[in-house]
Symmetry: D2
Subunit: 349 residues, 4 copies
């Protein structure tokens, strides 16, 4: 049975792998600058964003992208407001602190940074002047850590709040493709996001690339900083064309006119929704709204263990009632048949 552990279990999607093979023997200059594939990918992505005044840069993974962007958008004594479950706050081994910047978590429990909580943290941090880290940006994730999807209305509300306090907006888009192709986006488009965020990235690692994130930068400070910082922090690839080749393939429209980047994510989402509905129909209890490629269920321990063993699911935490919060992830590689096989297995539990 295909595992539902995560969306980076497999290698590359066919289109991406084919592009790597096709270009393997080319001799290109290195470091993501000046080779035709990086330039083509840059153009495709900027066009998809509807802006010609942004820089498009490439990085090898989410942590590297986050630490470079947070570092480059903040002064040494400044901090970034985010939710407590934000990737930068918990799962990056202190990567932001390691660059000298501070992470300032709110108490938002649902993965969405709220203006009210952001305001509370902002007031607290600015109450005693130089004695506390000064907030200068917000960090949000789309999708959130719990698979949530930012709607247009919700996104505009937090951007408005940030603008009213002169804070920059950075969006971690490790799973941006899943978010923007979700019905729950309710009007939030890539163009709109690109128009409001000071920087964000379009994740490749979790959407069919071997690795790689494309960073879209409007912020002038980060535009200047990124080329240096990505090298200084060890994130600049010698064979930079690998990033260009993959993103070029992902953003080149296929015969239907849609880029694989969006098609792969839509496919993962649809499998996830089928899985969700199927499990609910079988009597399992979904946990929260997760209109994206990750689904969470509250399961009895022995049921959770059965899914862990058979489908590679991960248990996130123990809930207060003793049940286990269990995650199912679909990827571009997941098929309807894979989902149905899982559901058939679930029926036996």
């Amino acid at each position: 049975m295909r595992l539902f552990r995560n969306d980076y279990s497999e290698g590359a999607a066919p289109e991406v792998l084919a592009a790597l093979i096709a270009t393997n023997d080319e001799q290109c200059v290195g470091y993501t600058e000046g080779d035709p594939h990086c330039e083509a990918a840059r153009t495709l992505i900027a066009k998809a964003c509807g802006r010609d005044d942004v820089a498009v840069e490439f990085a090898i993974g989410g942590t590297s992208t986050n630490l470079v962007c947070v570092n480059g958008m903040l002064h040494d004594w400044e901090g970034v407001i985010c939710t407590p479950d934000a990737h930068i706050n918990v799962h990056e081994t202190g990567a932001v602190a390691a660059t000298g910047r501070s992470v300032l978590p709110t108490r938002d429990a649902d993965g969405f940074l709220s203006p009210a909580e952001a305001e509370r943290v902002y007031r607290y941090q600015t109450g005693t002047g130089r004695h506390m880290t000064r907030p200068a940006m917000i960090y949000i994730s789309n999708t959130t850590e719990l698979g949530g999807v930012w709607s247009l209305e919700r996104f505009d509300a937090i951007c408005d709040w940030a603008a009213s306090h002169d804070l920059k907006v950075f969006v971690d888009g490790a799973r941006m493709a899943s978010a923007l192709t979700s019905p729950a986006a309710e009007g939030l488009t890539l163009e709109h996001l690109a128009a409001r965020a000071d920087a964000f990235y379009l994740g490749g690692t979790k959407n069919g690339l071997l690795f790689g994130e494309a960073v879209v930068i409007a912020d002038p400070g980060l535009r200047e900083a990124f080329p240096y910082l990505i090298k200084e922090r060890g994130g600049l690839m010698a064979k930079g064309r690998l990033l260009g080749v993959q993103f070029e393939a992902a953003f080149t429209p296929d015969e239907t006119g849609e880029a694989p980047y969006w098609r792969l994510a839509r496919s993962a989402n649809e499998c996830a929704f089928r899985l969700r509905e199927g499990l609910i129909a079988l009597g399992f209890e979904a946990y929260g709204e997760a209109p994206s490629n990750q689904q969470f269920f509250a399961l009895e321990p022995q049921v959770a263990q059965a899914f862990v063993d058979a489908a590679g699911c991960e248990v996130f935490q123990e809930l207060p009632d003793g049940r286990l919060l269990t995650r199912f992830v679909c990827s571009w590689a997941t098929t309807v048949a894979d989902v149905d096989e899982l559901l058939a297995f679930a029926k036996t539990l």
Copy 2:
């Protein structure tokens, strides 16, 4: 004409690319731990080193490897002695300083760290106690920045010196395969190197992998630190198996009993030697000893420019007499025919 710009212009060597394709659909756990390919690569590399008491870790590139290793082997107030042209001293945008450690260059002009110069720096730095950065390790590169190859005797001499001062030894092996397969190694084997260095790495990016370096760690402190630091610094791949797959392919002996890792490097070296001899025979002046896959020539400006234009050569610096120090690099992809085509071109100049 094939370019002689560098050894990371092409994609992956055929064996490596084939392995990536063959394993693309496998579902593996991430982060270089627990997947079968990383484990197989670890075993193959440790065996090649003749040690079962070292940790083998993986990184995505040279700068990332260097900054994690220097950071992990030094305390905050310590420094690393190296030559002035050391990669960590010049071409990593201050990556070591960015982790808070100091680089302490000697005045060695030939790329080889000498005991005499190391001693001078050591004495200078330790003369006033806490007021100066304390040296705690040495950094050497094999091959050196100028294509030099450490002989057994020279390597043992600097290791002896380091041991007598209780300094750790770290070897940057971005081009280690070229160095160890060179006749100029004069007895310096991987086993010997592994027996004396506290940490070193076997470069993949410049020897037929898409990317990747295998880090061999004896130092207990770095063994503990590396797994955390590589994540904290953004160098841990989600699809860690990509590193395992590639190094497994590179270190699995072929039908001749030799691992591609060594065969590819030997081929690059042989092309480089043919190129060197050919150019010398044509009356061009070689610059320094470079018994590896990089060759340096002192050329009149217009001749240098011709090689830049036609073969992608890089000019390193202007020499005092006005000639230009020009580099020719052969890779695993370079063929004898490629070299002969270059020599035919050279004849026309």
Copy 3:
């Protein structure tokens, strides 16, 4: 009226100032090493701690001490568990993050780090291995930020917990003299503290010195690190003897056999207790237990403002019921007459 703003409003206590004047014309070597006053102070403090196997070092202030000690006791990828109101978590402008280490706050609301909350954070942080900052020490303050005093029993409980998880113990003692001379210490002595903590400091700035903290270090790693780190972080005084002279004066027993360091703190405490009882007798509501030189009251806004205006009190926060948490601080310079003058003023409100 004497202000009750804080315990660092005045200059130096008479004994300390006299010592500075008496030694002003001496010529001493610098940097806190080798001058007779630093050596004398070291000996006096080590003796008071009942240990001859600790290093005694000097620093200029609390933030400098905290950042050097946390940095020196942690690896780059490690973190320190503390309460959310810990000075290092809120009032040092991200000083610990600026050295690359992570602060890991619990949810303890009363200023005391509890084993239960520390355990929760420890489990959370160690649940996913390298992906999260590894806790390696605890930080507690005595007195706490809210004027609380650690009893022997409570201190032993958190030390036992830390020992059972192999975590180091660091005690911020900016107001240690007030804590150890408080009845609420219930048996916690300097000797006992010195026997169990890996490092702690005896604050001078808030107890009658112009400035200065004496750091007592048992931890071998920090013993090695401190002399270098204090210089690297800019905290080493050229005229180091100033620290020695002041701590020598503070720890030299007077005619009664008691060192001024303890006598000054006891005097501040007694004034604070008189103030507390007097205000309570006048019907004001004390906030929490604060058996030390800081007293907190929940006051109606206009009453709070009157104390701010007349006595320099500081308002800490607005309480849920709209009253203001207001702080009164007594120092070595506060007299019984000063307290009575304040109480007379309070009577008029």
Copy 4:
């Protein structure tokens, strides 16, 4: 005999000590903001600089000042050009690297940063774009490490060079008073320096204060950064008024109309010149030009040792001919009688 070891051997000059005593019982707000003495000192210093558009901040010592200013004037990936003997390059235990910035030394051997050498380093560092640390400021010291004094002409030349490359100018003024009162300043005034430097400091520690440096900041970025950075790096004094009181005393003109800050330095210089001439007259060989309060002589080892033993002189290094470079330092506390006593002793050698 008075020692000639350095200019921070004694405590405070009489005027400064008197001010500390006179203000000891005042209650002041902390942290160098809002107390009358810091404000008065700020006004006096800004007026002496002839500018009302600069910020005047206070720090506790040279290393703290340097690391905060270099950090605050540079981005993470930038570096500072200086001479190889610059204090930040050698005697601060890697303090600048510890904040993540790079020090880029020239080969200037005389302590003066030259436009030619600065140009060479600038070209080298900017030759390969993002792969090398980008120079963004220059650091010079007045006086230099070898007691040299910048003349107006020389200062303007390096400032012109820096301006032509868009680099900021920072002047380490640990011994600025000695420099600006030296005849060798040849027209370089405080006003002129303040008009051209982006930031500099007026050292107090080595000119009659117990401790303290006054930092004059024109650079807008550093003006914003300094209040936060000085706290984040542990350099902000709780009893900030101590810095204000001392600088207020030092810059308040006495009955002759001259501020003690200048009078004390002139006195130290005059003693140093008398010492220099006296030793030369006795046949000792002066080393280099040192028209300030430090004097260097090349002495036979046994003679050097005699001065070390009797006068606390320090030996800087062994010269190629075996003689020892020996330093004599006069301070505000040195008298003509002290110098004559030393000369009488010298006669006996």
